[in-house]
Symmetry: C2
Subunit: 264 residues, 2 copies
DNA sequence: CGTCGCGTTGAACCTCATCAAGACAGGTGG
DNA sequence: CCACCTGTCTTGATGAGGTTCAACGCGACG
């Protein structure tokens, strides 16, 4: 068994901990090094895979930035996610063996290709790999549930705040320090993702800047008051109107759009 | 190896095709028959598993009906799904090894318990089982994307229409004929799921009934004009106002909330 | 310099949330 | 059996948040 070229060796990749399982034996690592046989470059504005295409591979962003777009029969479409280095795309294809969304590079990007067939074969001998894949799919589902909450019960201001904090957190997880966020996507993309119009996105950003919570200069955003943003992301608007959450835990809250949980 | 009691044998279950892979050898089937070692009954209003509990099992609805609820830190919560016979719950727990939502029975129910550990062990020897699990998780992700579209870019009327059609389709997939849908959940649950208030749900149902598209009698709904409902579910409201989609394909559409796809 | 894509801002309208009142069914106790 | 109560659903009136329409600023690019 020859050693694959360094360029495609996962063990030599600084993103390894983001997309591969940890705690493998060196023997297992060596097997995994053969997994990524292909790298592809995608120019800004071009697609990596398209909806309805046959599902064959998963993709990991190596450098660059992507959005995924889902479309309805009648031509409507919506951004369903943004992906940065180390994040996995294409999981939606596993259900019907077809991709259900289109992945578009928002800047010149580099992608690792994981052929599903090889991945599954390898997973037969490395259970950890199998579990890891399950975990990643589980994360995707959890991420989706968070988006439900955002789309179903948050105001524009809270959506934007959540969005910015989410981006910042992911950048921090990649080692970036500071509070600067460069928005790789357009306002249109943000609006589509958050279920808002482009005007509302723009207005809300301006409003947050006017309050001093962030600073905005086109695509360059700085989170000046992360805490305050967090507050906004949680309480829609009504300023935490329950009197004593500890003293009256079962009190019926008059909270805005949130029916109470029917307890067991 | 003894044969497990009939009551927990998947091969003897009429729901098998809904939750188990097809095309297995009889030998594999025999192994799978040992998978479901437990059945649990959940009384209406009680929970099957709760958010933050340790993830150990997946659950398949055998009889009855469930909703899942996700909660935020600040007490808000939202229905994230409804589950009927043959559908799998608990997949969200695979990401963090904790459930992220709470499953509540909306009527007295019967559930098959799949211990994740055993499931994974068995999947090591039956690749088809592994693929099947992947497929199911993929379906869940696709389902979530459809919900994004609904929550992000549909009007109340379109959301309700989609919701009713979705329920009807799932009932049909289970062999029910006719256009009757019994709503097992309250208006509050529906509203939470669709990102609407209870009043809007009620009003929209009344409105659809007034138009003759459905009939409503509390929890009993009949879909009188499925295709008309389909229309409503797709075009928000503006009655397909582009003049000649074929002659002017690149014309800027005045469509309500849907920015155009940035092509590759 | 003109054009085009993108972003911002203003004004009017509209959908839907909110507040409020009442209808209806199911359950309990007299 | 009725009165009563509670949870659920319906309907109306009002207002706010966000969409829609429109105009303009700005930078990139040919």
């Amino acid at each position: 068994m020859h050693t694959p070229p360094t360029i495609t060796r996962c063990t030599a990749c600084r993103l390894r901990q983001l997309c591969m399982p940890t705690g493998l034996t060196s023997q297992q690592m060596a097997l995994i090094d053969h997994l990524v046989s292909t790298r592809v470059k995608v120019a800004r504005g071009h697609s990596l895979f398209r909806a309805a295409a046959t599902f064959k591979s998963l993709y990991v962003v190596r450098t660059g930035f992507f959005k995924t777009v889902v479309s309805t029969a009648d031509g409507h479409d919506q951004v369903s996610g943004f992906y940065m280095a180390g994040e996995l795309m294409g999981l939606d294809g596993m259900g019907l063996s077809k991709y259900t969304c289109t992945a578009i590079a928002l800047e010149d990007s580099d992608v690792c290709v994981l052929h599903m067939h090889e991945l599954n074969t390898l997973a037969q001998t490395i259970p950890e790999l199998q579990w890891h894949l399950q975990k990643i799919m589980g994360h995707e589902i959890v991420r989706d549930h968070e988006l439900f909450l955002l789309l179903g019960s948050m105001r524009a201001q809270a959506r934007i705040a959540s969005f910015l904090l989410n981006l910042l957190a992911r950048l921090h997880a990649r080692g970036q320090s500071g509070n600067a966020v460069r928005l790789r996507m357009t306002r249109e993309d943000i609006g589509s993702y958050l279920g808002l119009t482009i005007e509302t996105v723009s207005r809300t950003l301006s409003s947050l800047a006017r309050k001093g919570l962030i600073s905005v200069q086109l695509k360059e955003v700085s989170i000046l008051q992360p805490q305050a943003l967090h507050q906004l992301a949680q309480h829609d608007d009504d300023g935490d109107c329950q009197q004593h959450p500890l003293l009256a835990p079962r009190l019926r809250k008059p909270a805005s759009r949130t029916p109470k949980l029917q307890l067991a």
